[in-house]
């Protein structure tokens, strides 16, 4: 009897192995395969590395705990991206609530006026690639959430329209529409970079 080389198995075979035999090695390989793509996806969606790492960890814990809810009719990548997307949305909502609370409580006691710092970059600073990345990320965060998720999955994660439709639970037509609207918003926001 030859030993199974788990690295040669597909994602679906690995999760089935984890479901049936509770093989921890299969789970570890899945984590290894998906930790970076999921981190990239969640980071582009949230724009914060700390909370992004937490969300990806939480995603993997959910995969571990609810492995039996996965059905082999769906692709594993679709399932895991759906979980990560939902957790990222929850994190965004939590962050919004926190922001509203902190703004409301600020200056209540001493009648101070709000002074929100303007952290926008000037065009003459656009030299370093790291800064450029940051500008793109900031512009990206200004795009509506529903469009942003679709654009990230298509243009950064390079998933097919069908996969994106499955992940977001919408039709392919709606996916295309959202992606184009998101791109249009981003195009306006990144005009300065494109005119260089």
């Amino acid at each position: 009897m030859t030993a199974i080389n788990f690295n040669d198995l597909t994602d679906e075979e690995l999760i089935l192995e984890f479901q049936k035999n509770n093989t921890e090695r299969a789970f570890e390989i899945l984590v290894h395969r998906y930790k970076n793509p999921l981190t990239n996806f969640v980071f582009r969606y949230l724009g914060d590395f700390e909370s992004c790492a937490d969300v990806v960890q939480e995603t993997m814990i959910k995969v571990y705990r609810y492995k039996d809810t996965y059905q082999s009719i769906a692709k594993f990548s679709t399932w895991v991206y759906t979980i990560a997307g939902n957790l990222a949305k929850t994190e965004l909502q939590r962050r919004k609530r926190r922001t509203i609370l902190s703004i409301n409580s600020y200056g209540k006691d001493n009648d101070e006026t709000y002074e929100i710092p303007d952290e926008s970059y000037r065009p003459d600073d656009l030299t370093d690639s790291g800064i450029k990345d940051e500008i793109i990320q900031k512009a990206f965060l200004k795009v509506s959430e529903v469009y942003r998720q679709a654009v990230v999955l298509r243009d950064i994660q390079e998933l097919s329209y069908e996969e994106i439709a499955d992940i977001m639970g919408i039709t392919v037509g709606t996916v295309k529409s959202r992606i184009n609207r998101g791109r249009a918003q981003l195009q306006k926001l990144l005009k300065s970079i494109h005119n260089e």
């Binding site: 930790k35 790492a53 993997m60 791109r183 195009q187 494109h194």
Partner: protein, 216 residues
């Protein structure tokens, strides 16, 4: 990924997005994940009922329930909305009024009325003596033919050709046509003494003899 027609107009955006640096997971990602999973494994999940029946939840909710019950008791006993039965007007029983309609007044002499009253009294409380009087009265009217009418009693006895039996009262009714039978009579049942019983038997015997004579 192939660029479709829709994507041509946003090619600059797509190019920019593809040019972004890939973000990788932190170095200790897998170790942290393993630690978190192991921590969760040893944390026994409490069921809904276990959580619900925790003393920290049970005591306040129990106290609240007790307060509610006490308050309900206090306010319910204080609000006396019920009528005092002693001050309430008596209830009018229409069924009693309807059944107490008297038959039309008869043109009887005072002596006859006395006799009627006596008979009516006997209906309510028959005794051996009243039976005796009735039978004597019937015997006195032995000349009655097919239909004997005891007008002073307000009672009509039909079927005169047939022998009269004390238990057979189905043919007996008021002269105004309102029927009555034994079941509708409200007479008091009483235990009779052996002497009374003997007297009654004697009367019965005499009655039977009389009826036989009449039949002949």
């Amino acid at each position: 990924m192939n660029i479709t027609d829709d994507e041509h107009q946003y090619s600059d955006v797509i190019k920019t997005l593809k040019g972004l640096q890939k973000v990788s997971a932190p170095e200790n990602f897998e170790a942290d994940l393993r630690r978190r999973i192991n921590t969760e494994k040893f944390e026994k999940k409490k069921s809904f009922w276990e959580k619900l029946l925790l003393p920290s939840r049970l005591i306040p909710s129990g106290a609240l329930a007790a307060i509610v019950v006490i308050l309900l008791f206090v306010f319910n006993t204080g609000s006396g909305t019920e009528d005092n039965p002693l001050l309430m007007p008596p209830r009018i029983r229409e069924d009693v009024i309807a059944s107490t309609e008297l038959p039309p007044a008869s043109t009887q002499t005072p002596s006859e009325e006395t006799s009627t009253a006596k008979v009516k009294n006997d209906e309510v409380n028959p005794s051996a003596n009243s039976f005796q009087e009735d039978f004597q009265s019937l015997a006195a009217n032995d000349n009655a033919a097919t239909e004997s009418e005891v007008s002073n009693l307000g009672i009509t006895i039909t079927g005169g050709n047939q022998p009269y039996m004390p238990g057979n009262v189905s043919a007996v009714g008021f002269s105004n046509g309102i029927p009555f039978n034994k079941n509708s009579l409200r007479y008091r049942q009483r235990n009779i003494s052996p002497e009374e019983k003997a007297q009654l038997e004697l009367l019965k015997k005499k009655m039977m003899e009389k009826l036989e004579e009449l039949n002949k």
